[in-house]
Symmetry: C2
Subunit: 337 residues, 2 copies
């Protein structure tokens, strides 16, 4: 039985790419009691992969040099040494950027019946939980309020905007390029889009949010965040979900200039990590499933074929090439599923 | 009957000083029903005076050019056309930088019995409410947590640190110069002080807050805020009370670089304006009065004599010359009080 995968060999200075990662053939560890061997089917690529490769302290320990790159994936149980799982089960967990993983049985979750790996990553999983709890719990979003979402055509952003519409909010998305802007307004139902590559974001926010921004669901950081802070409404909330514009910066870029407006508006900037909401996942899955089934929630996937492509594919997030959820297809699902 | 005061003639670019303000003799308006004429006794000088003079949108409209500079003051009622007040009453309100003001009766508050104008501004009034509600309500401060206070020898900071000690927190103050650092540790009971003029604030925060900062009561902004963000503990709160280091900047200075740590630590930066807490003032005054009476709360005042000195005195806040509450004595209290 073979295994191949990507080993983190060097810390990235800017991009996390093939200069930091090495493709290796590796042994598959033996099963020990309580562990499960899983064959990877679909690997999720996320902006936070870049954070995990960094040596800086974050919400998880940095991936150790010389070890398999950390990654969330869906796979099929090949062999189980634990009563919770049996061969053929479809599971998700931290399988890493590799073809096969031996992991503790308790670190895995099953997928809801009938949900494909693509749907799991695009609508449920960490993406769905991030959008749902970020907007409702951290953002305290309410009907009638104005929501601005950055990286609006991305996996999280596209869900956040649609959930905002379901709640009865006015939703403005910030995305790069006309096709993405058309997609979020014409197909996903956002009220308006700002093309940050062509338009003056601050000027457009003034036009589109005349009463200010009640909730900024922030995925980008940098100048986009700064423009949103300048337009914050009274008691406006910034859900600090991600700052993708900053992760590849070789040195620490300067922060937002408009923090004074947070003071004036009694605003709030709140950081949030989806791991804190895992215990409440069922609550979100119920709603997301219902919205998906009734056609209120749409999604797009950007599926790259072949684990060997993972480092190159990751850059699609940072260059803005992807639309919807980016993932890598590592192997076919068994016929039985 | 004469009146003199300071008129805002020009918007400040950097400092709000005599180049922007003009000393004028003015008429005293006639009393109309519902209004009260008050003779100013003590004028509070606050960092927010600089904000009020700016043309930028803030939590109150900018002081119009050509009008008396806005200011909070304690005064004595000279004549009243409203049953709520009578001649001789000691009151506080937005009397402005002038010797006499005619204001709506409903805009005034009485001082608690036995409280002097100095005590009012140093322990109660907007300063006490800011410290009390900022720390307890916005900061959600708890026993056993680590509190960092910037501008720790200032009016608000010196109270915040002492309230933190009363609550059972570990308190680190950031102040400029050895006398202030000695004062807050030796006389006010702070656990430690950082002299930002001599010491590396980031390095000292790492030493003094090994488990991170649970509450940063932020009065300064800029590099001090940035250093605190870098040390934020899990679910740490930044009470964004003021950013005095930024107010005199001619152009917008860059913001904090360490916002990513707010994300990683699930931290919160929350702006807050004391005006929102006026309805709950009684709650704070009761506690503050009790702590003052039992010797748990100490204060210092920096009283400058003569309203003509107000513009020059204001700069004491920005140069860091003052210790405790800065105010201008405009007139003697009547013998009867």
């Amino acid at each position: 039985m073979t295994n191949h995968g990507w080993i983190l060999e060097r810390r990235p200075v800017e991009k996390l790419d093939a200069s930091c990662l090495a493709w290796r053939e590796m042994a598959v560890p033996d099963l020990t009691p309580g562990s499960v061997r899983v064959k990877t089917v679909m690997l999720s690529l996320d902006p936070t992969n870049r954070i995990w490769a960094s040596p800086a302290e974050s919400y998880l320990p940095p991936v150790p040099l010389g070890e398999v790159m950390r990654g969330i994936a869906v796979g099929v149980v090949e062999e189980s040494a634990d009563p919770r799982w049996k061969a053929g089960d479809l599971v998700q967990g931290m399988l890493g950027w590799q073809e096969r993983a031996v992991v503790p049985a308790g670190s895995l979750n099953g997928l809801p019946p009938g949900v494909t790996p693509e749907q799991w990553f695009a609508v449920f999983g960490h993406i769905g939980l991030t959008a749902y709890f970020g907007l409702l719990d951290v953002g305290q979003a309410k009907a009638g309020e104005t929501l601005v979402v950055s990286a609006a055509a991305g996996a999280v952003g596209s869900l956040v905007g649609q959930i905002g519409k379901i709640l009865g909010m006015r939703v403005v998305g910030i995305a790069g390029g006309e096709p993405k802007c058309r997609w979020i307004t014409e197909e996903l139902g956002f009220d308006a889009a700002i093309d940050y590559k062509r338009e003056d974001v601050g000027k457009r926010l003034r036009e589109l949010c005349p009463a200010g921004i009640d909730v900024d669901f922030e995925n980008v950081g940098g100048e986009i965040l700064d423009a949103c802070l300048a337009r914050l409404a009274l008691r406006g909330r910034v859900v600090l979900c991600g700052m993708i514009s900053q992760y590849n910066a070789g040195s620490q870029p300067p922060g937002p200039k408009n923090l004074a407006n947070v003071l004036m508006q009694r605003g709030r900037i709140e950081g949030f990590i989806v791991l804190d909401y895992l215990a409440r996942a069922g609550e979100a899955f119920g709603k997301l499933g219902e919205w998906l089934a009734t056609g209120k929630l749409r999604y797009a996937t950007d599926v790259v074929a072949g684990l060997e492509q993972a480092p190159a594919a990751l850059d699609r997030l940072f260059s803005g090439a992807n639309r919807g959820k980016l993932m890598v297809k590592v192997a076919d699902l068994p016929e039985s599923l």
